[in-house]
């Protein structure tokens, strides 16, 4: 296994790797300055070839790079960020870094193959989906973007031929992207500014970005263009010509052949270089700032003109425009008319200058639009008359080029509007009432019944706002005018459009089709193969409601939450419920993708309650709710709180029912709560039950390519399916497909089809039209509200606090019970200070177990992992064997703050901390698993979060885990962070450019004083039994300067002392008064019985079992 990197140096691409095992073994190199973990070229080539044949065919070479090292007498090279994530390595902030040279072994890929290599690598990596021994270095993403840029330049014809004289004096031809136009120049600036430092860290390259970008882009463009010209034998067209006498032939000789040498005498080639420079320089003119530029305004024929057909007179008026303000300085007609009035002196000189500029600009424009030559033959050119055909050509073909060249072109506003073209509309007739089969929600109805239901449809062709018949189209076709005026409005009549419209209307008389076909067709996906643009869908009745989504479901809008629902729904939640209920009645599934914190859970619970309220006493089938283990507790609690009358069965734990017992348990339940893992394990039973509905929480778990888990879930029979997720699905196309394939099978087509039609155009080509079509297509089935939406924001208070009830993992459960048992035994026989020590020590252990087993087992605390006793094999994880150090530290902690200090200092390991791979498994702890899920949503939504923990060791663990699981570098501030570094961290976080969305802080060091308003989520990962301290920490984000709603998430492990104490504080019990402000000392005063009551794990049937 190695991490793959790419550099461009010496006109070649270099691939190199960092071997993970060598790095983990801490191998250091004997030779100085040789990279200690550099993958041998042979291994590199073998793995690359295994990934894709031929990919490893580079030549072994070496490359000297300047890489970050840990400063010291013997600087040590640091792993790349990707390698550090794989190793679970965290750097200690305090150690300073230096830039040192370091030589890596590489495979050198020659320039002509560089583009192919990057593209092949990207596709092969995507296809292998993690099955390869290669992990992509973080900078590869940038290389992929650069490769796409060059492919797009070629596909969009934004390349130019150039001539280059090399140092040796010889000349060659080259194809390169044209980068000097405004937008492209900006893109190049983006790519330059975002270039990862390592890419320009080639020793001797002086950290320059441009030569690398230039070198790669030129190589990529040239190879792509040249290959296709050679393949199409363009060489033959100049074969018979003499390059030494004709500069055109000389240039082409370096452009269309597989070799790039220019065959012309030296002097000839030199002249070629100079005149080519002059010619290409003309392109650069557009960028040059001009004081005035030519404006061309096309005026359409007057409404009362005698002829409004092919011979109508259009006129282009000339003017001079100030390019800064886009305001007209003077019209040409006014300028020349003034000249006749014989102005004197300065005014006349000024006018002469203006007319000089006008003529110059006209001459410049005439190179693009040769019709202007005609105007230049006049003495005072003020404009040019065009017939309809030429006016059409002007708008369609000439205008875009003139605009690019920096001229100002104004044309009638109807041009380019879809209403000025021929369009097809799909008309669907459906009744207002829902089809009876669906509204019953009866058992036995098939999944996706709604999508398969037949709807009546017909097609209509419109010209502007007019519906046109076949007859009329035939007349227009005979007329052959590219533009016609109909009812006062000009219509852009491309002959090909009329042809397709005719063919289309003749071939599609209408009829019935399924709703899924209709929706796909209306969005231009399936269906009419003719190229007629489908402008959209018009529908009546319920289909109309469906298409309009939440906006249109007015007549189905619920005005209040169901009676039995014990809570209040905010207006947007009510509208979400209406939408869910509406889809449900149609037998359709959907994805509720509201931002985190907007209450997806309660909207779904309200739906369950609602369907029972409207069933008129008919029994409603059970809903299967599949969630990650970490949020199961939360669901249970919320169900209980908001809909206590719903009967919940929890299908979890070792003693969960199976077979007949399970069926009868389901029979008498409204909701069956289970996890993704159990769903796979119990799939045979679950698949035989006819579910009313399957709901997936955190639906991004349904991944692609399909896993066993995905297959098992899809095989469960139900009438409808709902997915809940907080990630911005519309931007994650693979995820969107997987989720909709679950909710509305078949709707987005097959995966390869979807990829070709949407994912590639949107993600690689950045095609806004495809994006727009996809949004329209999914709108009926995906509802996503953001916290920042205007309709939502007014409903939200500035601070939203919620507890996250976390379920312990099996390992945590076992460790927890062992510690409690051992403590209770020992406490009984101890007294005084020893008893107090035992209690406090156990307390710390229990809190650590709730955090993560690795925290408790000390895996995080030392540079070298302890014996790998993660507890799955049981007894040697006995807590009593753990060091007395912690006991002592805790026992010496009389006050809250001192206790925090002590806890903080607990893991004071110097240098980088390398964690064993197991320590970083978020799934070993309910809390960390939930944290990763939440942070993933937070990062994906562009939000940012503070994560508070009391323990520095836990902080390290979290940072490493976040790096590994989310591939994000979290900031970390703790008691050992020097002051300067603190300021820097705060500054980086507050910069809020989104590069560091997660800030882990120790409660002690980060709980006071800092201003961290860039965060809109505050997560209290473990609890300090003092609301004041917690609130103070929360106030880092919730303070003046905060403009968004702050969501506070307090983690509580269900059934543990965390929950018990949390409840006591909530209920303001007498005991609570003692707890607050006293650290943990009060606990030591409790009797053994009380201790047992407080600390023992209360099982809920949800622990472990996974």
């Amino acid at each position: 296994m190695f991490v793959l990197h790419a550099n461009w140096a010496g006109s070649a691409l270099h691939l190199w790797g960092e071997s993970v095992d060598a790095a983990r073994g801490g191998k250091s190199s004997a030779r100085s300055q040789a990279h200690p973990w550099s993958t041998p070229p042979n291994d590199l080539a073998k793995a690359l070839d295994a990934l894709k044949a031929g990919l490893g065919s580079g030549t072994p070479d070496t490359l000297r790079l300047l890489l970050p090292h840990l400063a010291g007498a013997q600087p040590q090279v640091l792993p790349s960020s990707k390698l550090a994530a794989l190793l679970g390595r965290v750097n200690d902030d305090a150690q300073s870094l230096t830039l040192e040279p370091c030589t890596v072994s590489t495979l050198r890929v020659a320039a002509p193959h560089a583009l192919d290599c990057i593209l092949t690598l990207r596709d092969a990596m995507a296809a292998s989906s993690g099955t390869t021994a290669i992990a992509a270095g973080h900078e590869l993403e940038w290389w992929y973007a650069l490769a796409d840029f060059s492919v797009n330049a070629v596909a969009d014809q934004r390349v130019v031929p150039t001539v280059i004289q090399e140092r040796s004096g010889s000349f060659r031809g080259q194809w390169r992207p044209w980068l000097n136009d405004g937008e492209t120049n900006e893109s190049v600036a983006d790519l330059t500014a975002s270039m990862p430092a390592v890419v320009r860290a080639v020793d001797g390259a002086d950290g320059q970005a441009w030569p690398i970008i230039d070198g790669f882009l030129a190589a990529a463009t040239d190879s792509l263009v040249r290959d296709s010209l050679v393949a199409e034998t363009y060489e033959e067209s100049i074969e018979a010509c003499d390059p030494t006498t004709d500069p055109h032939v000389a240039w082409l000789s370096g452009l269309v052949r597989s070799t790039n040498a220019i065959d012309a005498g030296r002097g000839g080639a030199f002249d070629l270089l100079r005149s080519a420079r002059g010619w290409l320089g003309l392109l650069d003119d557009a960028r040059e700032s001009r004081a005035l530029s030519l404006g061309l305004r096309l005026e359409e024929p007057a409404l009362d003109a005698a002829d409004s057909g092919i011979d109508a007179t259009w006129r282009v008026h000339f003017s001079l425009i100030d390019p800064e303000t886009n305001e007209t300085v003077i019209d040409a007609s006014a300028l020349f008319a003034r000249g006749e009035g014989r102005r004197r002196g300065a005014a006349q000189a000024r006018d002469e200058e203006l007319s000089g500029t006008l003529l110059q600009e006209l001459a410049r424009a005439s190179r693009i639009w040769t019709e202007l030559d005609e105007a230049l033959e006049e003495e005072c050119p003020t404009g040019i008359d065009l017939d309809t055909r030429r006016a059409y050509q002007f708008m369609r073909e000439v205008r875009p080029v003139l605009l690019e060249a920096g001229f100002v072109v104004e044309i009638p506003s109807w041009w380019g509007e879809s209403t000025s073209r021929i369009n097809a509309h799909l008309l669907i007739d459906s009744p207002d009432e829902l089809p009876p089969m669906m509204s019953q929600g009866a058992r036995g109805a098939a999944l996706g019944g709604g999508l398969q239901s037949l709807v009546g449809y017909r097609w209509q062709v419109t010209l502007g706002s007019q519906i046109v018949s076949v007859d009329m189209l035939e007349r227009l076709a005979a007329n052959k005018a590219p533009l016609v005026r109909i009812g006062g409005q000009w219509i852009d009549l491309r002959p090909e459009d009329i042809e397709s419209a005719l063919r289309f209307l003749r071939g599609h008389p209408g009829g019935t089709m399924t709703l899924i076909e209709a929706l796909r067709m209306a969005n231009g996906i399936d269906g009419p193969p003719e190229a007629l643009p489908v402008a959209g869908i018009q529908a009546t009745g319920w289909v109309r409601q469906l298409i309009a989504g939440t906006d249109g479901s007015e007549s189905f809008r619920l005005t209040e939450a169901p009676e039995a629902f014990k809570g209040t729904l905010r207006p947007y939640q009510l509208s979400g419920l209406s939408w869910l209920a509406f889809l449900d009645r149609l037998g359709l599934g959907g994805c509720l993708a509201d931002d985190m914190g907007l209450g997806k859970t309660i909207q779904l619970i309200a739906l369950l309650q609602h369907e029972r309220a409207v069933s008129n006493g008919q029994p409603v089938g059970p809903t299967l709710l599949v969630t990650p283990m970490s949020v199961m507790g939360n669901w249970r609690r919320e169900l209980q709180r908001f809909s206590p009358e719903l009967r919940v069965h929890i299908q979890h734990g070792l003693d969960r029912p199976a077979g007949e017992r399970l069926r009868s348990a389901v029979e008498s339940a409204d909701v069956v709560l289970t996890t993704y893992a159990i769903t796979v394990r119990d799939k045979d039973d679950l698949q035989t039950i006819p579910w009313r509905r399957v709901v997936l929480d955190e639906a991004q778990y349904i991944k692609n390519p399909p896993t066993k888990q995905t297959a098992a879930i899809r095989a469960i029979q139900s009438q409808s399916r709902i997915a809940l997720t907080g990630t911005p699905v519309e931007n994650r196309l693979a995820e969107l497909w997987s989720i909709l394939e679950f909710c509305c099978p078949g709707y987005l087509g097959s995966q390869p089809d979807f990829r070709r039609r949407f994912a590639v155009p949107i993600e690689r080509n950045r095609d806004p039209k495809s994006g727009e079509r996809l949004r329209h297509l999914v709108r009926p089935f995906v509802l996503r509200r953001l916290k920042t939406d205007r309709t939502v924001i007014s409903d939200l208070p500035p601070l939203v606090e919620a507890r996250q009830h976390i379920t312990l993992s099996e390992e945590q459960t076992r460790l927890y019970e062992q510690v409690v048992k051992a403590m209770l035994q020992q406490v009984d026989q101890a007294e005084g200070i020893r008893r107090r020590g035992l209690i406090l020590s156990a307390l710390v252990k229990l809190k650590q177990i709730c955090n993560h087993p690795a925290h408790f087992l000390g895996e995080a605390a030392s540079g070298v992992p302890k014996k790998n006793d993660k507890g799955s094999n049981g007894s040697d994880a006995s807590p009593s064997k753990k060091s007395g150090k912690r006991t002592k530290t805790a026992a010496q902690a009389p006050s809250a703050n001192d206790a925090l200090d002590a806890i903080e200092a607990e893991a004071d390991a110097a240098g980088p901390i390398v964690l064993p791979p197991d320590a970083l498994l978020p799934a070993r702890s309910g809390k960390t698993q939930r944290l990763m899920e939440m942070l993933e949503e937070i990062v994906a939504a562009g939000d940012s979060a503070l994560v508070f923990t009391q323990y520095r060791a836990m902080g390290h663990l979290l940072v490493a885990m976040i790096r590994q699981a989310l591939d994000v570098d979290a900031l970390f501030l703790h008691g050992g962070t020097p002051q300067g570094r603190r300021d820097e961290l705060v500054e980086r976080f507050q910069r809020s450019d989104g590069s560091t969305p997660i800030f882990v802080l120790s409660l002690k060091a980060g709980g006071v004083g800092l201003n961290l308003t860039a965060a809109n989520h505050v997560i209290h990962f473990d609890r300090w039994w003092n609301p004041a301290v917690e609130n103070q920490a929360t106030d880092r984000a919730f303070r003046i300067g905060q403009t968004r709603t702050v969501n506070v998430h307090k983690y509580v492990c269900t059934g543990t002392l965390e929950e018990r104490i949390d409840q006591m504080i909530e209920q303001k019990t007498e005991l609570a008064a003692n707890i607050i402000g006293a650290g943990d000392a009060w606990l030591t005063e409790l009797s053994t019985g009380q201790l047992k009551d407080l600390l023992s794990l209360r099982r809920t049937g949800m622990e472990g079992g996974e």
Binding site: A155, E166, A189, I238, V401
Partner: protein, 304 residues
């Protein structure tokens, strides 16, 4: 004794016909003390001619008999008025350096800044003559072998048909050398390349050595914007990940495709070739677009 004019032939005047506005050799020092870069040319033609011819040529020059003179690459054309009704047309053909010889010279001249500095103020440093010698070019900087044979430098032809150098050639040479005295770079023209082009090529050459290459395309402003790339040492903590602006880049909508936009903006080629370059480029652009679209949609690039 006087002789009656021969009525059957046009009258041949004793003295050449007067020329109004001809080039007159009126140098103060006469033919003495010409600088090194001009002197050999005059001296050699005076030596090669008979003393009478030399004498007469000198007189012609002083009298302004040279009616026209055009200096072009490798060649000087002059019209010298003698006794006939029209000026005799004569040509000096200088031996031009071959493109390869020029390349050698320019490469050598670009190695030292002094040369282009001098050239820019119209001076010919003596080092150039040494340089041409040491590069063993086919001809020295200053020509000094005038005569009527093709191997001469310059090889002289004159409409008078007399033995070369004739008096007309001597007269014209006086005028050329007088001009050379103040325009020493004209020597380059005589060897085949106008001084302006020599200077340009030297500069081109110097850029080439400084930058590694010289090219016809202009660079985008982003190329020289050093504010885009902070020093590497300030990025030690974030050394491997792409910067945030990669997202800005990805969020930019694609450029709307305008067919052949760049080609149409370029317009007709000013290169002066006969081959229909723009036409071929148009079909090239169509081919590469088709190819680019295929690659963009995931076809392998090496499908050729």
């Amino acid at each position: 004794m006087t002789q009656l004019p021969d009525q059957s032939r046009p009258r041949q005047p004793e003295n050449p016909r007067r020329v109004i506005g001809g080039f007159r050799f009126k140098r103060k020092g006469g033919i003495e003390n010409f600088p090194w870069h001009a002197d050999p040319l005059l001296r050699s033609i005076l030596t090669a001619a008979t003393p009478e011819t030399a004498e007469e040529g000198n007189r012609y020059a002083a009298a302004g008999q040279t009616a026209t003179m055009i200096v072009s690459a490798g060649k000087v054309t002059a019209g010298v008025q003698g006794r006939a009704s029209r000026p005799y047309q004569l040509e000096f053909h200088f031996r031009a350096w071959t493109p390869e010889e020029w390349e050698k010279l320019i490469s050598a001249l670009s190695a030292e800044a002094q040369y282009s500095a001098r050239f820019l103020v119209d001076e010919m440093p003596p080092g150039v003559a040494t340089l041409t010698q040491s590069l063993s070019l086919g001809a020295p900087l200053v020509p000094s072998k005038p005569g009527g044979k093709a191997t001469n430098d310059p090889f002289i032809t004159c409409a008078c048909g007399g033995k070369q150098p004739c008096k007309h050639a001597v007269a014209a040479m006086h005028i050329l050398v007088e001009r050379l005295e103040t325009e020493p770079l004209l020597l380059f023209t005589l060897r085949g390349m106008p001084p302006k082009q020599v200077i340009e090529r030297i500069q081109e050459r110097r850029t080439l050595s400084a930058r590694g290459e010289s090219h016809a395309h202009p660079l985008p402003t982003a190329a020289s914007d050093s504010s885009l790339t902070p020093p590497l040492t300030s990025q030690l903590e974030d050394f491997w990940r792409p910067g945030r602006r990669l997202h800005d880049y990805a969020a930019r909508p694609a450029h709307a495709h305008v067919p052949h936009a760049l080609l149409r903006r370029l317009g007709a080629s000013p290169l002066g070739g006969k081959f229909p370059l723009v036409g071929l480029l148009a079909s090239i652009y169509d081919s590469v677009r088709a190819r680019g679209l295929r690659v963009r949609d995931g076809d392998p690039t090496n499908g050729a």
